[in-house]
Amino acid sequence: MIDRGQLGSILLAATLALAAGAARADEPSRYPDWGGQWFRTGGIQFDPSKPLGRRQDAPLTPEYQALFDKSLADLAEGGAGLNAHTSCVPHGMPRMMNAIYPMEFVITPQITYVLFEDNLPRRIYTDGRSWLAEVEPSFAGYSIGRWVDEAGDGRYSLLEVETRAMKGPRTFESSGLPLHADNETVVKERIHLAKDQPDILIDEITTIDHALTRPWTVTKSYKRKRDAVWYPNECAEDNHHVVIGKDHYFISADGLLMPSKKDQPPPDLRYFGARK
């Protein structure tokens, strides 16, 4: 049985706890305000300061430059080149930060989530963890972040992120600009608001990859819209682009395969009618 005195103590403790909680909620967050909807400020290419494709001037190794040249030649004939996303293979990192469609940051002390309309979320762990001995690869990879209080004013302003354990095939952009097939990519990012521009977010991305002769750094920026409306974009809903073998086809209005290239043969049908 709880007597009246004990009940009073319990109620007082509960009231104080609630008050303390309210006081904490009123304190300025240590974390920056990255809420709202972030739209890319440039095109859909990887380096927004240069045109999509060859003029990205990516520092490719000769081997991967040759692969890229071949991909561009295929695109010129109407093929899909190395762009596996044609058949809905996820963008993966770092291409997902091209932000074809807008993205959202949800910050918690342990994890910062980056949400997309057309990709699964990124999870950036900020709980102080170390790299696992082995991580199952994924297209978005495994990201560890560290918040930095640049001004020393008790508030974080910069999120440094390192991402490893990515799965392929991946390209930097829809031109087919490739990353290495070994998937040993390391992506380092510095994400922060632009100085004196609270509605501009900057992501400085450095990609280290065996398809490149040196680390490649590009700077992306995104513009904030506060009154967000989201439109999920599930690629598999009604994608008319089909890759069979290495060839790209297009689905007709009546649901049949059509060629995308001039004089393109139909796919190899050797396994049809095999049990005659």
Binding site: P51, A76, Y101, H240
Partner: protein
């Protein structure tokens, strides 16, 4: 209604420089250097992901009909500019300038600013939905 295969290189060049729009995939299979004109009747407007489609019945010289499968912007992009699934409907008679498949099969890409209703009405087109999806603007 008829299919007019017209070389429209100048128009193609204009489309290539049109406002930046979105593309999920490569749109490189659509030949934007050789645009063609189509006139026909919408059989279905598919406001679907990852990209919208207009199916349009086009009458041939011999009286038969071919249905074209025409891919456009994503619904999210169009919705942000005020489009809905009802902006176009079956039975609408359209004149379109499209980027056809390189193969010559009845497929292609449509651009919101290159469509008019047969009676001359125009569609609502914001800057961000002008032109074809930009991923075929690949520098080679």
């Amino acid at each position: 209604m008829r299919l007019r295969l017209t070389l429209l290189s100048a128009l193609g060049a204009l489309a290539l420089t049109a406002g930046a729009t979105l593309a999920h995939h490569s749109f490189a299979m659509f030949d934007r250097a050789h645009l063609i004109e189509l006139e026909g009747v919408v059989t279905e407007f598919k406001f679907v992901n990852p990209h919208t489609f207009i199916y349009m019945a086009v009458k041939q010289a011999d009286g038969s009909t071919v249905t074209w499968s025409l891919e456009g912007q994503s619904p999210s992009q169009l919705a942000r500019d005020g489009w809905t699934r009802n902006t176009l409907k079956a039975g609408d008679e359209l004149k379109m300038t499209i980027a056809p498949l390189y193969s010559g099969a009845p497929g292609g890409a449509w651009a919101a600013d290159l469509i008019t209703f047969r009676d001359g009405r125009q569609l609502q087109v914001a800057h961000s939905t002008r032109g074809f999806p930009e991923s075929s603007d690949v520098s080679r």
